[in-house]
Amino acid sequence: MIAIVDYGVGNLFSLRSSLETLGLDVVVTADPDKLCAADRIILPGVGAFGDAIQKLQATGLVPVLQTEAETKPLLGICLGMQLLFQTSYEFGQWQGLGFVPGAVCPLQPDLEAAGRAELKVPQIGWNALQILQNDPIFKYVKNGEYVYYVHSFYGKHCAANTLAVSEYAVPVPGVVKAGRVYGMQFHPEKSGDTGLRLLKAFAEL
């Protein structure tokens, strides 16, 4: 059973459908007992970091996630991945869940520093995933497959934890990992067959 954490952020229709298409049992829940009973957990999210971390804290699930992640795989997707970091600088400064060392920073200034201010923010679209470190999560994908991104902020200072990146004038961490905790900046549930194969690998970890 995969539990998708329901904390009132984002649209879970496609994520749920993609897992069901893979033949997986899925529960969308904010119930700590169900998260404990599940054999893996997905933390989704779209929107702003501050709003999302406050909503997540309000559910009281943060300590549950911290305990459960010691014994079972946890996957953060998009903003859910960013929440895994120590800090975010999205409209202020926020403390994240702290699973992944590093910080979530705005793309725009770094694109300007790279002399590529014409690149659009948010990055919306398909970008190639370059695998830097082999991992079971890549069991069913090849280097260079395309995944779908929608984001204005990205993870920095997390090189040791970065399994794969996509180039957008700067290397954008696409997949990060710390212990049993994984994060994907792109949307696997919107990345066609490639995304489904990544989710399948997560379900088999």
Binding site: S14, P122, Q123, W126, Y149, Y168, K190, G192
Partner: protein
């Protein structure tokens, strides 16, 4: 790097995909769920569904089709047509849409763009603008291209980006259905002013039109309907051609 996107557009009326020429003369093509499967397998980067029914029954049928598509197709889905309120956003997002495009609804109430961007994020709000030259000016049209609003299209687009629109779908009424190429003059004029992604729509007739399009700065995606539905242009062939000519594509 990020790829350019190829987007087929499905106009849906009474549960069937139709395609007009110059927005008139509707012609039945096929079943939307079947077509979505076909386009996903062909490597479409995104799908756009426009609900062109006006009735309540038609609307319910449309959201039912959308949910059926979203349950099995896992690429981005944009939905437009009949989006006038935040409740309309809610209705289609709950059925699996990722982005919602607004057109006449935003012209009647520009605040809709702001409210939707605040609630769902800018990445969710696509401004669809139907634009036509009138007296040497780019003029924005409402009601499926039938009504001249008298507004300057470039100013309207600027205003919507400032309100929070995260993407622009620019439909040139002048080139729509003509199949002699995209309206590059109009697209350049918009691309010079905004820094959100631009989807070009109207006028694609052959693969060279897409190559020319992506040679223009600031254009992120090309959208077409009839030439894809009729298989005059096959998406895998088009993407391979563009890639071979230096345009990065998801193959």
């Amino acid at each position: 790097m990020i790829t350019k996107r190829i987007i087929p557009c499905l106009d849906v009326r009474s549960g069937r995909v139709v395609k007009g020429v110059n927005f008139e003369g509707v012609r039945d093509v096929a079943d939307p769920v079947e077509m979505a499967r076909m386009y996903n397998a062909a490597g479409a980067d995104e799908l756009v569904f426009y609900d062109i029914t006006a009735s309540y029954e038609g609307r319910a049928l449309f959201t039912d089709i959308l949910a059926r598509v979203a349950r099995e197709i896992f690429i981005p889905l944009t939905v437009g047509g009949g989006i006038n309120t935040l409740d309309d956003f809610d209705r289609v997002l709950k059925c699996g849409a990722d982005k919602v495009s607004v057109n006449s609804g935003a012209l009647r109430n520009p605040q809709l763009v702001r409210d939707a961007a605040l609630r769902y994020g800018s990445q969710c709000v696509v401004l669809s603008a139907d634009v036509k030259r009138v007296d040497g000016q780019f003029r924005v049209f409402a009601k499926g291209g039938r009504e001249d609003t008298g507004r300057d299209a470039l100013e309207w687009i600027d205003q919507c980006v400032a309100l929070g629109a995260g993407e622009i779908c620019l439909n040139s009424i002048d080139t729509d259905g003509v199949r002699r190429g995209f309206d590059l003059e109009m697209l350049d004029a918009v691309a010079a002013r905004v820094n959100v992604p631009i989807i070009a729509s109207g006028g694609a007739g052959k693969k060279e039109d897409f190559l020319e399009l992506f040679g223009h700065k600031g254009i992120d995606a090309g959208l077409a309907a009839g030439i894809f539905h009729s298989k005059l242009l096959e998406i895998p062939d088009l993407k391979r051609y563009l890639n071979a000519n230096g345009v990065e594509m998801r193959l």
